[in-house]
Amino acid sequence: MFRVIGGRSVQAVRLLAPRSAVLVEAVRGRKSRNDPVAKSKEGRIKVPPPVDPVEMVVLKERYSEYELILRALRLEFKEEVLRKKYEEETGSQAEERARQEKEEHRALMDWNDQENLQMLKARILRIQKEEEEAESKTVEAAIQREEELQEFIRQKEKEILQLQEEAKNFITLENLDQRIEEALDNPKNYNFAIDKEGSVVKRTVLQ
């Protein structure tokens, strides 16, 4: 009935210090088949509890009654359970409930279809609007591009005109001699002096 514990479990368990020399814990069925009988139980004969025959007769009677009633109750309950199940499935309420459910289902499906139609219309409108916007955007983009092109052309034309005007002053092979003589005739003096007050002096040592 009591087991001596030692080894790995001892270290922790020794802390819960029993005052006995040996650590014991309760374990059922300590003796196995071949262990000898204990000294204190050597002459023991196991005797079942005494039965009073009068009481036994009375008890048997009572038990038979009890079992009869219990069997009857069990069958009653079984029948009740079966009846409930039957009524659930094929009773008067079941048909009505099924019908109501079908009605509900149909109504809900109709509502669902209507919702779908409305969403479809909304979707179509939205898609149309988006298409129009896209078209207008492309048109605007085209206009923008054309305008930019025109702008570019104008810029280039301006530059060309300017160049043409400047070309009048260019030095060509025919003008060369003329221009050289002109340049030699009019010496230009680019030198000037400036002081800290900002007054410019153009008169310098002429050459």
């Binding site: 009572r62 009890y66 309950f77």
Partner: protein, 136 residues
């Protein structure tokens, strides 16, 4: 470690359904409290049950009552489905009036009454004997 049983949703069982007392709340020593429970026969006493059908508190309260509760509707259902109640549950149900009184309840009561009477008469004869002796 993954418990494969929960993955497979194992729900087959061997044996039959019983209505029995299962110990609840093992956190407190020396304070038992039983649940009246419908469970499969082979399950551990305190293990997974199908449905709880009531309670039983074995320690008497301040008014010296032991409180029991039953869910009679569901008990009827389970007995109709073929559940077996155990002896203590049958006794409790008998005391409650749902079942007929268990024969052992009656016999135990009779035995105890006989014992009490015996003890009373023995005490009475002793007292009378003592009284006579003192008189003498």
């Amino acid at each position: 470690m993954v418990h494969l049983s929960s993955l497979l949703l194992k729900s087959y069982h061997s044996g039959y359904v019983v209505i029995r007392l299962a110990l609840a709340g093992h956190k407190q020593a020396n304070r038992p409290f039983y649940r009246i429970v419908a469970a499969y026969n082979k399950r551990a006493r305190d293990g997974k049950y199908i449905e709880q059908l009531g309670t039983f508190d074995p320690l008497p309260n301040i008014y010296n009552e032991k409180l029991v509760s039953f869910n009679f509707d569901r008990i009827k259902y389970w007995i109709g489905c073929g559940a077996h109640p155990t002896k203590p549950v049958a006794k409790l149900l008998g005391l409650s009036g749902f079942f007929p009184l268990h024969p052992m309840t009656v016999t135990e009561a009779e035995r105890r009454r006989a014992q009490a009477k015996l003890a009373e008469t023995a005490g009475g004869t002793e007292d009378s004997q003592e009284g006579q002796q003192t008189q003498i």
